[in-house]
């Protein structure tokens, strides 16, 4: 079983759209934002993301903020919408949390390489950490259309940082919840119940989205069980469209050569076993084009 890229669907390529807030709601510690932004829904695929400008017309924050697409609705009564789930973290997302319906919001998307989907109806585990569960619901839907079995594992530090546990019950054959503080579900990490779940359900593909440490741990479990893993990484991005080279991670190619690869266009979804998790934040020795000893750069 080999996952292949999602089928090519027209129209393709990202758009820049001056959208409008349709609604914004608090969900636990997060905000669920729905934006009317025509054309993006039709192009989005599970795992792709959008980049929003922040701060308004005389903003001092130049760079866009990246968010996984949670859900889309193609143009209907209200025009096409795109939904994201975000945490108010720094100044940009704090500003976003103050948005109200009808406020303008500029969206670029969909961006990035989405989750690869299996051709055969295999058993899949979808693992989300915190708001990282958001992109998994659209994926679950597509997988079910392909007759795959879908098992979800959602984890967070505490109950209020879980997103979508209720929706998961509709989206998946089984739902396992973990919290570090034990406030709900199993006390611990998503990787605690994962091995048994994989064995029990004969999981062949593990999808994950969440903090880097979790992706790495999930990949280890998946690989140990002989399953494929598809991980959606989160690296600081200046452009989101592939022109600036800020967002790179060390990834091993088919030729076994490590390259510093753009996570915005070649990712954010990578095969987990190709990412050199231990070496993120470094240029590992032997990387294509890495400095050679003794030669100043």
């Amino acid at each position: 079983m080999t996952p292949v890229s999602a089928e090519a669907t027209t129209p393709r390529g990202p758009l820049q759209v001056e959208g409008e807030v349709f609604s914004i709601k608090r969900v636990g510690d997060y905000f669920h934002l729905t934006v009317v932004a025509d054309g993006i829904a039709e192009r989005a695929r599970p795992g792709s993301f959008v980049a929003l400008s922040v701060g308004g017309p005389i903003s001092g924050a130049l760079l866009r903020r990246a968010f996984s697409i949670y859900r889309v609705r193609p143009a209907g009564v209200y025009g096409g919408t795109v939904e994201i789930v975000f945490a108010a973290h720094g100044p940009g997302t704090t500003w976003m949390a103050q948005l109200s319906p009808h406020d303008p919001v500029n969206v670029v998307g969909p961006l990035g390489h989405p989750f690869a989907q299996p051709l055969e109806p295999v058993s899949c585990a979808l693992v989300g950490g915190g708001y990282g569960s958001a992109p998994l619901f659209a994926l679950a839907e597509r997988l079910r259309e392909r007759k795959c079995a879908v098992h979800m594992v959602l984890g967070a530090a505490t109950e209020s940082r879980l997103f979508g546990t209720l929706e998961a019950k509709r989206a998946a054959q089984s739902v396992t919840v973990t919290t570090v503080d034990g406030s709900v579900g199993i006390k611990g990490l998503v990787t605690d119940p994962l091995p048994a779940l994989m064995t029990r359900n004969g999981i062949e593909v593990v999808y994950s989205c969440g903090p880097m440490g979790m992706l790495r741990a999930v990949t280890e479990v998946a690989t140990a069980h002989g399953a494929w893993s598809q991980t959606a990484v989160e690296e600081s991005m200046a452009c989101g469209i592939g022109v600036c080279m800020t967002c790179v991670v060390p990834v091993v190619g088919d030729d076994n050569v490590t390259r510093m690869v753009r996570s915005c266009v070649d990712g954010p979804v990578f095969a987990g076993d190709r990412v050199r998790w231990d070496d993120i934040g470094t240029v590992p020795a032997g990387t294509h084009g890495a400095p050679r000893p003794g030669r100043p750069r």
Partner: protein, 320 residues
């Protein structure tokens, strides 16, 4: 007075031997080799596409994090990641030429020999509109000191590149603002044979990670760009064109709008580049062309060349 229509404004621009449809380019390193931006607009609409500085060998660049946001700007420490000249000439440059884009190729080296080799290989490729020489690189042969920070070393690079680039392909020197006198460096590289200047590269800056209280960037320091640096870039353009009035200058640093572009032209630039603004608005370069037409039309200026250097009282006395 009959109102001038934006579409009737003549934007054609001559930069040494390069003839361009309009004076708006991408800035090196902010548009890769044009392919990704082609999803948002036709790269042939630009005056030129300035490519990411290319080095002789493939290069991994620096460790991440490679960026930090700063007030109205950003720091980057990419470390010139790139595929090397072979791959660039085999793939990126032909792609641009097939799309009828005007490529200006930015080259960077660690030694005079590397610059010379790049100049020969790029300069002899048909279709290259100009070479831009990024001299903000450490000089491997001189204790890693950056070429751009020393008028003498900067001039040596430009002399070698000019010598090895075919006639007819203009050579532009891209200078760093991190010097005591940019006019001195400008004069030195022009003397050495450069056909024009690109002002400015990024300013050296630092960002501290609030969590660790250590420098955020993998490369420790990084280059500051974006609207924050616009006043410094305008000053550099103004000083250089005041001191060297006949030198063609390409202005870059914080340009976001047609009004910004107009300010650079008035300060003395004959053309402009849009860099960091692309990260905010991928369509920025073509929007700047459109807005520049509007700004000129609204002022009744029929030819972009008429506005170049307007801010210099000595060169353009105010009309009575």
């Amino acid at each position: 007075m009959t109102r001038l229509r934006p579409e009737d404004v003549d934007l054609t621009t001559v930069l040494a031997d390069a003839h361009l449809d309009n004076p708006v380019m991408t800035a090196s390193g902010c548009a890769a080799s044009g392919r990704e931006l082609h999803q948002f607009f036709d790269v042939a609409e630009l005056g030129a596409v300035v490519t990411k500085s290319i080095m002789r060998d493939p290069r991994s660049g620096r460790a991440t994090p490679r960026m930090a946001e700063t007030p109205s700007g950003m720091l980057n420490s990419i470390g010139l990641q790139g595929p090397g000249i072979d791959s660039f000439l085999a793939t990126d440059l032909p792609w641009l030429l097939q799309r009828d884009a005007r490529p200006i190729v930015s080259i960077a080296g660690g030694s005079l020999g590397e610059y010379a080799e790049l100049a020969r290989r790029v300069g002899n490729t048909p279709g290259v509109a100009a070479i831009e020489v990024n001299i903000s690189c450490p000089n491997v042969e001189n204790r890693g000191l950056v070429f751009a920070c020393d008028p003498f070393q900067a001039a040596r690079v430009l002399a070698v590149v000019r010598r090895d680039t075919p006639r007819g392909v203009p050579v532009f020197a891209k200078l760093s603002p991190d010097v005591t006198s940019i006019v001195e460096v400008a004069a030195a590289v022009m003397e050495a044979g450069a056909d024009g200047l690109v002002l400015i590269n990024t300013l050296l800056g630092l960002h501290i990670d609030p969590a660790t209280l250590r420098p955020s960037l993998g490369g420790v320091t990084g280059g500051l760009s974006g609207p924050a640096v616009k006043p410094v870039a305008l000053r550099a353009v103004w000083q250089a064109t005041q001191a060297l009035p006949s030198v063609p200058v390409i202005g870059v640093g914080g340009i976001r709008t047609g009004a910004d572009a107009l300010e650079f032209l008035a300060a003395g630039a004959s053309a402009v580049q849009v860099g960091t603004a692309i990260f905010n608005d991928p369509g920025a370069p073509v929007r700047v062309i459109r807005e520049l037409r509007q700004e000129l039309a609204a002022r009744g200026i029929a030819k972009v060349s008429e506005v170049v250097g307007r801010a210099h009282p000595s060169l353009h006395p105010p009309s009575p």
